[in-house]
């Protein structure tokens, strides 16, 4: 009842100054529109750029690094065990790059509830042999279906069908740059020489394009079985285990845990690609800063209009007070005015923001570096809309706070006697 009365007074004051009110609301609408669009666009772009690397990078990579033995013979000696031993020119020990006991480790990883999936991988250094020329390259032996499920393999296969890699024996998907150098079309057979000098013929079933030129020039994909055959290894030979987690933030902690548990090297995505995190967070920070600045400007607009309204409506305020409305009631009337401008303007802003994001989402954006992208990227995260609406309400409340307090302190006697 009381609130209804305050609302009705606020409404009639608002409608008495409809045009000014609309201008104030448009200010809020504009800033919220830009805020939502800017953040959606910026985050979309961030996701795209990060995705280039992060989608294709395991959260934790388990592998065997070539390094010297942790325990040197001198440490075993009774005589020198307690001293500080300096040894120069230590050489790494002759370890095979394969992960021992892959089957057991894979099973253990798959049982871990924090793990989304595990994909084994073999990295093989090869030469693509074209006539008398040898081009250095890398073949990634992958389990095709797991690779697609966890790392969106099919998105990067721009020509041919990715599943052929599994179905066609002795097949290869060439990096786009490598294929161009070799003038290899789909269906052609190319020759590959391994580091140990073995030659093998592989059939090209597709092109792979990651968007990063240097990678596309050297990297190719083959199935894990083909790669094992290429290297002359058994079917338990795996050099890398790529682990994808449910929560990427767990990666550093879990990498340490796995390293200790399985006695192998583990690197997490944050350590391996720290530059991306930094870039993304700085970009979002800038977008937030611009958005908040827009809102503050709109807030000053509301502040101005309310101040003007209070000067114009001195008489009204005085009479409301003389007939028994308390300072708090008057305060509430003006806060209500400010909030309704904020809510109305903010809601429109969210709608326009969504519309504008949608328009941007449909603008064609073709670049050879990004084969999967056809239009500008937009992230429609509801979070931005939530933050936008909270911001619009908070700023309009603050903008209304001081004028309202001034209105509530107006002394009716001064106004009425002044006439």
């Amino acid at each position: 009842m009381k609130f209804k009365l305050i609302l009705s007074i606020a409404r009639s004051l608002l409608f008495a100054r409809l045009r000014q009110t609309l201008v104030a609301a448009i200010g809020v609408t504009f800033s919220i529109t830009m805020f939502v669009t800017l953040l959606s666009f910026m985050t979309g772009l961030n996701d795209l750029l990060d995705g280039l690397i992060l989608n294709r990078t395991p959260h934790i990579r388990l592998y065997n690094e070539i390094h010297p033995s942790m325990h040197q013979p001198v440490d075993q000696s009774e005589q020198y065990r307690h001293g500080h031993n300096f040894i120069s020119s230590i050489k790494p020990k002759d370890d095979r790059p394969e992960i021992n006991n892959v089957g057991a480790i894979t099973r253990a990883l798959k049982q871990d509830s924090r793990v989304l999936g595990v994909a084994p991988k073999i990295i093989a250094q090869v030469f693509y042999t074209i006539g008398s020329i040898d081009l250095p390259g890398t073949i990634n032996g992958v389990e095709v279906e797991e690779e697609d499920r966890l790392f969106k393999f099919r998105d990067y296969v721009t020509a041919g069908n990715f599943i052929d890699l599994k179905n066609v024996p002795n097949s290869i998907i060439l990096g786009k740059g490598a294929a161009e150098k070799m003038l290899a079309d789909i269906g052609d057979v190319i020759q590959v020489t391994t580091a140990k000098g073995e030659r093998i013929q592989l059939k090209v079933v597709g092109y792979f394009q990651s968007g990063i030129q240097d990678i596309d020039k050297v990297q190719s994909y083959a199935s894990i079985a083909t790669t094992q055959k290429l290297l002359g290894e058994s079917n338990t030979y795996v050099t890398d285990l790529q682990v994808k987690l449910k929560d990427i933030l767990d990666a550093p902690k879990m990498a340490k845990e796995y390293s200790r548990l399985f006695g192998i090297d583990a690197i997490d995505i944050q350590t391996a690609n720290s530059q991306f995190e930094t870039g993304s967070s700085v970009r979002s920070l800038i977008s937030y800063a611009v958005g908040v600045t827009l809102l503050i400007v709109a807030g000053f607009g509301i502040y101005n209009i309310l101040n003007m309204m209070i000067y114009e409506k001195m008489d009204t305020i005085a009479i409301l007070k003389a007939t028994g409305f308390s300072g708090r009631d008057v305060n509430r009337v003006f806060i209500t005015i400010a909030l309704s401008i904020g809510i109305f303007g903010g809601m429109l802003g969210l709608i326009f923001g969504f519309g504008l994001s949608n328009v941007i989402d449909n603008i064609p954006f073709n670049t050879p570096a990004l084969p999967t992208i056809k239009t500008f990227p937009i992230n429609y995260n509801p979070k931005f809309y939530l933050i936008g609406s909270i911001f619009s309400i908070v700023t309009t409340y603050l903008a209304g706070y001081f004028p309202s307090r001034k209105a509530s302190k107006i002394d009716p006697v001064v106004i009425i006697r002044g006439k």
């Binding site: 009842m1 009381k2 009365l5 007074i9 009639s12 004051l13 409608f15 008495a16 008489d315 009204t316 005085a318 009479i319 409301l320 007070k321 003389a322 007939t323 028994g324 409305f325 308390s326 300072g327 708090r328 009631d329 002394d411 009716p412 006697v413 009425i416 006697r417 006439k419």
Partner: protein, 234 residues
Amino acid sequence: MSRKILEAKNITKYFHDPETMQVLKQISFSVQESEFVSIIGKSGCGKSTLLYILSTMDTDYEGEVLIDGISMRDKKESALARVRNEQIGFVFQFHYLLNEFTVLRNVMLPGLKLAKYTEKEVEHRAYEKLKILGIEKEALKKPNQLSGGQKQRVAIARALINDPLIIMGDEPTGNLDKKNSEIVFNICKELAETYRQSLLIVTHDNEFASRTHRIIEMEDGNIINIKSNLVAAN
């Protein structure tokens, strides 16, 4: 005996701007139920100042104001607002109606604020008050479509909406012509005599004052003369 609706005890007031000056000096008097009292005096004698103190809008004074036997000293701003809302009806020299609302809504506002009755009931009561003042036909117009006399009557209706203990008027006829002043005076008189409404009216219209029950004459912040007009009171 009839009860004291309003009592002023030793009210003293200073203005500090531009220099300290005493505007009210130990004013004491009271208003009984259904009494029609007027305060007269020359411009600047402090009569309006006194009225604003009595109406609780001005709280910067010495002495005591009792409304229905309750002191207004030490009451909080919101409590005073409630007293103004419930127990005092105020009529100003200017009508001070809100042009954003219809006449009916203007009359209803203090009633809605009090929230003693539902909106429907308040509306019904507002119509009744307008009927007493003979302007129920204008209920749905905006105040700026009415004549000066009609506006002042709407203001009186607004003052009456919560059945206040006392109606205070600050030169309610100051802006009206002879005919409209007469109408407003007759309404005041009818309220006092038919509806047993107490009224305290500040005026400098001696003719108006001479027909009220009691005349308080002020000069330089003092009451110099109180004249009962019992002939008019019968």
